[in-house]
């Protein structure tokens, strides 16, 4: 999945979690501006884990600010699982 596709997945998952339309995001979008609380973010991460088949440890979610941070983490974890 490309980075753009990952953003699309994030948008769809965030829309489901937030129960409102979330779109037009970019890698620079700050996650805190989406109006999803910390529990919602954990739910969102959990759903993305299921869909991507990757595990994102909770302690590595601390400090994630932008969608780019999340995508970087996803790609890093995917590479670790492959190697």
């Amino acid at each position: 999945m490309t980075r753009i596709e990952l953003i699309g997945l994030f948008e769809r998952t965030a829309t489901e979690i937030a129960e409102r339309d979330i779109k037009g995001l970019s890698e620079l979008t700050e996650i805190s501006t989406l109006g999803i609380d910390s529990l919602g973010i954990l739910e969102l991460v959990g759903e993305m884990e299921k869909q991507l088949g990757v595990q994102l440890p909770d302690d590595q979610l601390v400090g994630l600010t932008t969608i780019r941070d999340l995508i970087d983490l996803v790609e890093k974890r995917r590479q670790m699982q492959v190697s």
């Binding site: 954990l42 739910e43 759903e47």
Partner: protein
């Protein structure tokens, strides 16, 4: 899902000027009932919190006061796990008087999330899910565990 009954006698300090249990008292009982449920499930909260530096804060509460309780009444707080998810657990409690077990005096739904005491939100760890749901918790998890008790429903 686990069920637990916590038994408490109403103290004078629990009542208010109307000589009934003050509405805030129920939250203390509900909390203690949850602690006991976890203990019965094999998780001693005090030690767990100290070792893991995790906590289970209350993030959502719904409570319906149906009948009053009074000084010296014995109240039974029956708590079941209403729903368990990776991000939160809902505890459903029904309170009755030991002397009138068919009469529900209070109903409550309390949702707990999980946090690291220094680093913020966390997913509910396995040992908590096991204590609440049992060893086969994986098959019983839902996506969210929100409260459903509404002020208008009977």
């Amino acid at each position: 899902m686990r069920t637990s009954i916590y038994r408490v006698r109403v103290g004078y300090v629990d009542t208010d000027q109307a000589q009934v249990v003050h509405h805030s008292t129920y939250f203390r009982w509900l909390e203690q009932a949850r602690v006991e449920l976890l203990r019965e499930g094999g998780l001693e909260y005090k030690g767990w919190e100290a070792v893991t530096r995790l906590g289970l804060p209350l993030v959502d509460a719904a409570i319906r006061y149906i009948q009053p309780c009074r000084f010296d009444d014995i109240v039974l707080v029956e708590t079941v796990i209403g729903a368990a998810a990776r991000t939160a657990i809902r505890f459903d409690s029904t309170l009755t008087l030991e002397s009138k077990p068919d009469v529900v005096v209070t109903q409550a739904q309390i949702r707990l999330a999980c946090v690291h005491l220094e680093h913020g939100a966390r997913r509910v760890p396995e040992e908590v899910l096991r204590a609440c749901v049992g060893d086969d918790y994986e098959g019983q998890l839902v996506r969210t565990a929100g409260t459903r008790l509404t002020l208008n429903s009977k």
